[in-house]
């Protein structure tokens, strides 16, 4: 076992996947708490599909690096938040329209430009195909997200739990909502390389949901969410390597198991 673990880390591709994954799952779980509480869970899923469309566009026209998809998804995220409030098409319907629309557009683009073998990669992720530059981008972006999250932690907390009061006490609520939206877009785009468009929202949503089953305070919930996310990622990655399973699915199954466990613990605690 020990020998195999050492051997795993002798592969560059595994080390890259491990480092990038730790960073991304950590920052995803932080933002996840706010997305779940603000009832924005589906937005992550919708943005991932927009990301798929954006990746298809960059792959079809000219193979371009990850960060080209970033501004497209970022703009989509801000628009989704803005339009949600004013649009006549309400919340979930709007997300469904945008996500299926960009999925269709992406598929057409990929087929028309004959890069169909990329479809699988974008749908389900390609964690072991990361390069050194991907790892650097992931680490830098994640560190920025974590730093911003810590700096604005108290304000983000208030904007998340009580928007009205935040507004009344002079906090620029829409500024913080935009910040959360943009950071979410960043993490979705980065995470798509790991988990793929179909599974990335699970990485964002599961850890906070699990930790909220057990913990009552915000600080504890955020901390535990981060811990769950990193642990599940590591465990999932090891399973993937040992049993040659799809990585995204493995990581998500770990999260699902933890969610079930925490739900049980929460139930027992409530009775006790």
């Amino acid at each position: 076992m020990f020998h195999e673990t050492v051997q795993m880390f002798s592969y560059d591709f595994f080390v890259y996947a491990f480092i990038a994954g730790i960073f991304i799952s950590l920052s995803a779980s932080l933002l996840g708490v706010n997305l779940v509480l603000k009832r924005y869970s589906m937005i992550g899923d919708g943005l991932a599909h927009v990301g798929f469309g954006a990746f298809a566009l960059t792959a079809a026209i000219n193979p371009l690096p990850t960060w080209v998809a970033l501004p497209i998804v970022g703009i989509a995220a801000v628009l989704l938040l803005r339009v949600r409030k004013s649009s006549k098409i309400k919340g979930d319907a709007l997300i469904a329209v945008i996500s299926s629309g960009s999925l269709a557009a992406g598929l057409i683009l990929l087929t028309a430009f004959e890069v169909t073998n990329d479809i699988n990669r974008y749908m389900f992720g390609s964690i072991f195909a990361l390069e050194k530059s991907d790892v650097i981008i992931s680490a830098v972006c994640s560190l920025i997200i974590i730093a911003l999250y810590l700096i604005f932690y108290n304000r983000i907390l208030l904007v998340t739990i009580d928007e009205d009061y935040a507004h009344a006490s002079g906090i620029n609520v829409s500024k913080y909502n935009t910040l959360i939206a943009v950071l979410t877009a960043v993490i979705i785009v980065l995470g798509m390389r790991l988990m793929g468009a179909l599974l990335i929202s699970g990485l964002v949503i599961f850890p906070p949901l699990s930790s909220m089953r057990v913990f009552g305070g915000f600080k504890k919930a955020v901390f535990c969410s981060a811990l769950i996310s990193v642990t599940c990622f590591t465990a999932g990655l090891f399973f993937t390597f040992y049993y040659s399973l799809p990585p995204g699915a493995c990581i998500l199954m770990m999260n699902l198991l933890v969610f079930i466990l925490f739900t049980l613990v929460g139930k027992i605690r409530q009775r006790g």
Partner: protein
């Protein structure tokens, strides 16, 4: 603080506001001076909460509505909080939010903020609830926690939207004592919406009666007020408590428990 002793905190002239496309306040005029304890009374749906939300800049209005204190000087107790059931946040964390307006650019709470929060929890007698999950608390406990948050935030002005809701009589009286002391001893200006006429008359020094079809009073000048007030249903009232209890609006309510 002495040099600003008679500063006008809120100036409101010919204010018109609507709620869900229905005009609830029209041509409302009143002033709040530093150190005032103003109670806003009136039947349900007359626009009291809408007025407070207008003062806080949460709602649009027509007319003049000047607020001469910074938003970071105000403690606000909303009528109801839209905190959902599953929110993982403790009572202590909620109260600490009241100190946010004092942090400036520094991202974290300092020791004095924690002390302020503990102090406010003590004042509201809910210190033992500090670590409890907010959504597990009873209605009255939630109300006290939210009042504690407002107290933390209030440096100049305390805006309370029906603070007595959900509190039993003993706690209610304690609350009035506390607010009175904040007003008299700490010099906080208090604006309170209330349906509890007894508490209002005993504690406040000015009254704003908002009527559903408010053609409310021309402030300060009491003669004029009485004139306007005497136009029965149409009228509202703004003036001191002593003047208020002589008005037809007040007498019509059949309130005999004048202190």
């Amino acid at each position: 603080m002495f040099y600003t002793l008679n500063m006008r905190i809120i100036k409101c002239e010919n204010l018109c506001m609507s709620y869900e496309n229905k005009t609830v306040l029209s041509e409302l005029s009143f002033n709040v001076e530093r150190g005032d304890f103003l109670s806003i009374v009136g039947e349900n749906g007359s626009g009291k909460s809408t007025l407070i939300r207008g003062i806080l800049g949460l709602k649009k209005y027509k007319g003049v509505l000047e607020l001469n204190v910074g938003r970071n000087q105000i403690g606000y107790l909303p009528q109801q909080t839209a905190l959902a059931e599953d929110f993982p946040v403790t009572a202590g964390e909620i109260v600490l939010c009241g100190c946010l307006n004092d942090m400036g650019l520094f991202p974290f709470y300092k020791k004095k903020h924690r002390e302020t929060a503990i102090d406010a929890l003590k004042k509201m007698r809910v210190l033992e609830l500090e670590k409890r999950r907010f959504c597990e608390l009873s209605g009255g406990q939630k109300q006290r926690v939210l009042i504690a948050r407002a107290i933390c935030a209030a440096k100049e002005l305390l805006l309370l939207d029906e603070p007595a809701t959900g509190l039993d009589l003993a706690v209610r009286n304690e609350l009035y004592e506390l607010i009175s002391s904040l007003n008299k001893n700490d010099g906080l200006t208090v604006v309170m919406i209330s349906h509890d006429m007894e508490g209002v008359l005993a504690n406040s020094d000015k009254i704003l009666h908002v009527s559903a079809i408010s053609k409310a009073a021309e402030a300060v000048n009491s003669d004029k007020t009485l004139e306007n007030g005497s136009t029965k249903n149409k009228g509202g009232f703004f003036g001191t408590v002593a003047e208020y209890i002589k008005t037809p609006i007040f007498m019509e309510m059949g309130c005999n428990n004048v202190p």
